[in-house]
């Protein structure tokens, strides 16, 4: 059931259009990740939702309550900020209980609720601490508890983990996800870390220049990107261009192309064909191209090149291979010397063609 509905939302700063026709329906209890490059309008979308900036046109509603004309304090949407935005002159429990105090909830009840929240976010015993005495991870949990205290209709989180160091980030990430499952709140989380989005979200909206490029489950976004931008952004950042269908078919049969998850219209387009694939899907061998072993798999793109650089990633090596005018990254189990001639082999199933 749709809980939060955003329809035809437009917003701009001055003449600069930032959000260009955003449509998004979020179900009750769903967590949507907004993913996109810096400056694409993620924060702006959250600000428009919360009422921190005026919108130009469009409609936002929660259930059957239209909220796009309400002031920020009447919307019942709360935000968790990248900078925590805690009030330094208040203690942990004063911060968490503030929303309830504003709603004139009774003191005793506020206390019970704050204690409940403290245990939910694993901060028992810190209620009388000044927030300035807490670590980053603890602060962000206070901010989360504060935002959840008034039981908002929608919780929005703007890069809540970006200020935390890598290990704490993983912990808090899991805590937020677990909390969301347990309490079932509806939420939008902004991130520009694709892994974070994949792990946390029920669905991902990839934003580009103020528009939603693709909305789908993490699996859909990862395996079936609908545009070149999404493919590239989701880590399929090896790119080859073919000037025509014929040149593409020299490498790979048409039947396997149509079977794989490509755009249906690809056979009659005029622009060059862009082929994207991930470095982990590239098979790399030092055997020469006409070695019989290489022809077991027929439906694959085969490219010759030589090693330009090799970087140790821990589990494997990332090899940069120079192939004519393209440079292709491939994962490989062993280190290779610069200049080694190699053959790259990318199976048709791993290709995203646009």
């Amino acid at each position: 059931m749709t809980h939060l509905l955003i329809e035809n939302l437009h917003a701009s700063y001055g003449d600069k259009v930032i959000l260009n026709n955003i449509n998004l329906a979020v179900a009750q209890g769903e967590m949507i990740a907004l993913l996109g490059p810096s400056g694409c309008g993620k924060t702006t979308l959250l600000n428009a939702l919360c009422g921190f900036m005026p919108i130009q046109s469009g409609c936002i509603s929660i259930g059957d309550r239209k909220i796009s004309t309400l002031a920020a304090e009447k919307r019942n949407i709360t935000m968790v900020f990248q900078s925590y935005a805690l009030w330094p002159h208040m203690t942990v429990s004063q911060n968490i209980g503030y929303g309830l105090k504003v709603q004139k909830v009774e003191r005793a009840e506020i206390e019970t609720r704050v204690n409940e929240l403290l245990s939910i976010v694993n901060l028992e015993g810190l209620q009388d601490e000044k927030v300035t005495a807490l670590s980053g991870g603890q602060r962000q949990r206070v901010a989360l508890a504060r935002a959840l205290a008034i039981r908002p209709d929608v919780l929005v989180l703007d890069e809540p983990l970006s200020n935390l160091d890598a290990k704490v980030r993983l912990n808090v990430r899991h805590e937020i996800k677990a909390l969301q499952k347990k309490l079932g709140f509806t939420s939008l989380i902004v991130t520009h870390d694709q892994e974070e989005a994949l792990v946390m979200a029920d669905r991902i909206a990839v934003l580009n220049q103020g528009q939603i490029e693709q909305l789908g489950t993490p699996e859909e976004i990862y395996h079936q990107p609908k545009t070149a931008f999404v493919a590239d952004f989701m880590g399929a950042n090896n790119k080859l261009t073919f000037s025509s269908l014929a040149s593409l078919q020299q490498q790979i049969s048409l039947s396997s192309l149509t079977q794989s998850k490509m755009q249906p219209s690809f056979s009659n387009k005029s622009t060059p064909y862009q082929v994207f694939f991930r470095s982990e899907d590239v098979g790399l061998t030092t055997l020469s191209q006409d070695h019989p072993k290489l022809h077991n798999e027929t439906d694959a793109i085969r490219i010759l090149g030589d090693v330009q650089q090799s970087a140790f990633l821990g589990g494997s090596y990332q090899i940069s291979v120079r192939c004519g005018k393209h440079t292709i990254q491939a994962d490989h189990h062993e280190n290779l010397l610069e200049g080694t001639p190699v053959t790259l082999c990318v199976p048709a199933g791993a290709l995203h063609i646009f």
Partner: protein
């Protein structure tokens, strides 16, 4: 290590000497002069004389200072809050420009301007009469204590507002947004989120204004009615008419004490807010 310490001492010596010679020495000399005779013996006679002659003026000064500071605090916080929190951006940017004007007008000009504005047959009353709100007989002169307060507030308001607006603008915007989406009204945000965090700045603005108010001679001379008047006027009178530096310095000591009293109140208050007391 040792040589670098003494080298550093040499580096700050000129500055320290300047401060000592032109600042500390005259300050202590005037304090010393307030409590010693010409022969150098300790005495309270000057202070006694100062109180005997000018206790009304001292009280008057304290009242003027307190009234001005309270009005200044209320007005400057209100204007700063309007500028920072108001949703009507265009009116606010106009306000943000206008309030600064008094910064660039000297006290003596302000006093002169206000004299023609506030007098019984001054601009303000004339305007009231012309608009039919008052008859000429009903007009009152604002020259005197109320005029002095008006001028001080008018002149210092820009300075205080500037400091307080700056402090408010320096607060993290997202702190205010966090309060708004928890349902807090702007007034509540002002009192519960912003003011508690900027009390140090408000305190500094008020204390600096007090020191200014205590030291301005032109305003009580031009706007005041003679008696009672402010301490600064009495000091000038003691020196110019009698060459009596001792009593003038004794009055100076009283001024220090009034300022120190306010500073102490402020410090105690800010420590209390931090939970240290």
């Amino acid at each position: 290590m040792r040589s670098s310490t003494s080298y550093n001492l040499w580096l700050i010596a000129p500055a320290a000497l300047m401060v000592g010679l032109f600042f500390l020495y005259p300050l202590f000399f005037s304090l010393y002069s307030a409590i010693t005779t010409d022969e150098g013996g300790l005495t309270l006679a000057h202070l006694e004389k100062a109180f005997e002659l000018y206790s009304n003026d001292i009280l008057f000064t304290i009242i003027i200072v307190l009234a001005s500071v309270v009005l200044l605090a209320i007005l400057s916080i209100s204007i700063a809050a309007l500028i920072t929190l108001s949703p009507f951006r265009s009116i606010v940017s106009l306000l943000g420009f206008i309030y600064r004007i008094p910064l660039f007008i000297p006290f003596i000009v302000t006093a002169q301007m206000m004299r023609t504005f506030l007098a019984k047959n001054g601009l303000m009353n004339n305007a009231f009469i012309a608009s039919g709100m008052l008859t000429p007989l009903e007009t009152v002169s604002f020259l005197g204590w109320s005029g002095i307060i008006i001028v001080f507030v008018w002149k210092q308001l820009a300075f205080c507002t500037l400091l307080i607006t700056g402090a408010m603008a320096a607060l993290d915007e997202s702190q205010i947004r966090a309060a708004r989406n928890l349902g807090a009204s702007r007034l509540r945000i002002l009192f519960q989120i912003m003011l508690p965090q900027i009390t140090p700045t408000i305190g500094v603005a008020m204390i600096l204004s007090t020191v200014t108010i205590m030291s301005v001679l032109s305003v009580p001379l031009m706007i005041g009615t003679g008696t009672p008047t402010m301490i600064a006027t009495d000091m000038a009178f003691r020196i110019n008419s009698y060459g009596d530096y001792h009593v003038a310095n004794a009055l100076g000591l009283v001024s220090y004490l009034i300022c120190a009293g306010l500073a102490w109140f402020y410090l105690r208050q800010s420590l209390k807010d931090k939970g240290a007391i």
